[in-house]
């Protein structure tokens, strides 16, 4: 198992190098001049030329690429933001806690409500309760997240004045962002849980568990659910990885200084180092989450764990 994890981590390195290379090349061709951006539109031609020289922008592409990659992978240095003059790495580190809190809260909310709702819907398949759940989840999964966020602000912040509409000072401030960010995934997880529960609920082992007189609760949560978990875990993991990369829209609407809003502002201001840094960070987080999901599989499903260990044994031979 550990050998498998190490191999996967090593496989991440080439992916990240190619991501860095690709994004550097893309940004190289984006119209706009970093020196002009750093100095503002008012700077005269001579200052800009001097700044270009000082920033090393006049050197050939390949030299700059090599330098960027070397700094990034050997010193973990993302460079300096052109617009703010801050170190991109520090900025990302400062913003990370906000994004992490938001992502964890949203995922917990989704899991705590989504899975039981989906299970219940599957158990009551075809009944009124199920129909209502299906209709509501379909509706929520079709709502654009930003619209939902605006509606929540309108209702709970402006009309009822229960929660503040923007900021990040205390727990109260996180209620609306979490809600608006997770109702969509909640619908997705509920639908997914329902579908995979329906698949296992008629299996022989569920019938066996019932016929030996286990209480219905135990049959559903002890025998059926664990077997239906694999696709659900994949779904949750993907969503969590996505949120770790910054829930762009939610952060923009509720003015939370997370990674997502950083990326949007730096794209808008053509802040090359900041864009490259946040994209590489994002790729790392997302790939890392996918690895975590694969490891979680092993805990849920002994068969998958056996596969990993078999590979290990084969490698040992």
């Amino acid at each position: 198992m550990i050998r498998y994890i190490i191999r996967r981590l090593l496989a991440l390195i080439p992916v990240l190098i190619i991501v860095a290379l690709a994004i550097f090349t893309l940004m190289y061709f984006v119209p706009g001049d970093p020196a002009t951006i750093a100095l503002g539109d008012t700077a005269d031609q001579a200052t800009i030329l001097a700044a270009r020289e000082a920033m090393g922008l006049n050197r050939p592409y390949i030299v700059r690429l090599a330098e960027y990659l070397e700094k990034l992978f050997l010193h973990f240095d993302f460079g300096v933001s052109y617009t703010y003059g801050t170190v991109v790495g520090d900025e990302l580190m400062n913003r990370f806690p906000h994004t992490l809190t938001l992502a964890i809260c949203c995922t917990l909310f989704t899991v705590i409500f989504g899975i039981p709702l989906g299970v219940r819907s599957a158990v009551k398949a075809g009944k009124f309760e199920d129909e209502v759940t299906r209709f509501l989840t379909l509706l929520f999964s079709c709502m654009p997240g930003f619209w939902l966020a605006l509606l929540l602000v309108l209702l709970f912040a402006l009309k009822l004045k229960w929660f503040p509409s923007s900021g990040y000072k205390s727990a109260k401030y996180f209620v609306l962002p979490v809600l608006s960010n997770s109702l969509g995934s909640l619908a997705g997880i509920t639908r997914q849980t329902r579908a995979s529960m329906l698949e296992v609920i008629r299996s022989d082992y569920v019938v066996t568990a019932r016929s030996k007189g286990l209480p219905e609760r135990k049959v559903i949560y002890g025998h059926a659910l664990p077997n239906a978990l694999i696709p659900i875990v994949t779904n949750i993991g993907t969503r969590f990885g996505f949120m770790l990369g910054g829930t762009t829209i939610t952060e923009t609407i509720f003015s939370i200084p997370g990674i997502g809003s950083y990326m949007i502002t730096s794209i808008n201001s053509r802040d090359y180092n900041a864009v490259q840094g946040s994209i590489i960070y994002l790729a790392f987080m997302f790939s890392f989450m996918m690895l975590v999901v694969d490891c979680v599989y092993a805990f849920i499903d002994p068969r998958i764990k056996a596969q990993y260990t078999r590979k290990k044994r084969k490698a040992a031979e």
Binding site: V15, F29, C142, W147, L154, R191, A195, I249, I267, I279
Partner: protein, 313 residues
Amino acid sequence: MAEVKNTTINTEIDIEALMAEEKRERKANRGKKPGSFLYICRRVWHTPTAMVGVGIIVIMYILSYSSPFICKFPFAKVDIMHKYALPGVAGHLLGCDELGRDILSRCLYGARYTMSIGIFSTAFTQVLAIPLGAIAGFFGGIVDTLIMRFLDVFQAFPQILLAIAIACVLGIGFNKIIIALGISGIAGSARMMRAQILSVREQEYVEAATSIGCSTPRIIAKHIVPNAISPLIITMAMGVAGAGLAASSLSFLGFGVQPPNPEWGNMLANARNYVRDYPHMVVIPGIFIMATVLSYNMIGDAVRDALDPRLKD
């Protein structure tokens, strides 16, 4: 002699009758083979929710393209007297925005963007993803490794952020957003195609085709792809809804269709500033987005049920 002549005639008649019968049978069975295009259409036709979806989409398209002729107020006409008008005031059925432009007219005109972006970007994705996945899956080895590692890089990003990054490089505009959303979907579809191809490649009919000397492109195009494509059609049907939603999100963030053009996402981005006092400006475009996405989803669900009844939920 006469007897012999009679039998000949009889045989001829028999063959003709048989041929006619076979033709009739084929005609009667047309569209009954699971997985065929006609079969899917027939199943979708008999699903009420899907037909509601088709109805909404068709009506929306017709209204969108006829809106310059049927709407009382042109979508770009500024009417300062009626700015922020509530729904129903002065003949503006759904009210006006901050410049007094008619919201109904703008929403209808804007329908063309979201709906077309969904369809075209999904088509763009599939046109690139199907050959990539098919080549990777069929040839295996180094080609497979190269293509898949290349796609890994794309899959290291969530789709919407990849689209933003591409939109940032390409620039902003209607065509570019289609390309950005299209590219961002390739990795997932190609991966799925490859997995399908891997399972189909080992079937007997592929071996049979190889043994009678079919060329490789012919085997891929005529024998493997048609048998491997149904999960892809399902993702395609679902993808249209997702791409429509993503398109409006991109516009909302300012990377999509730009403001003077009434796209639902950028109408919302603009209305956001007035949400406190004039909520109708926020609520209405959102309902249009939701109705469109819902319709595409209902059609997608029906297509999925028609292709793979096991997945029915």
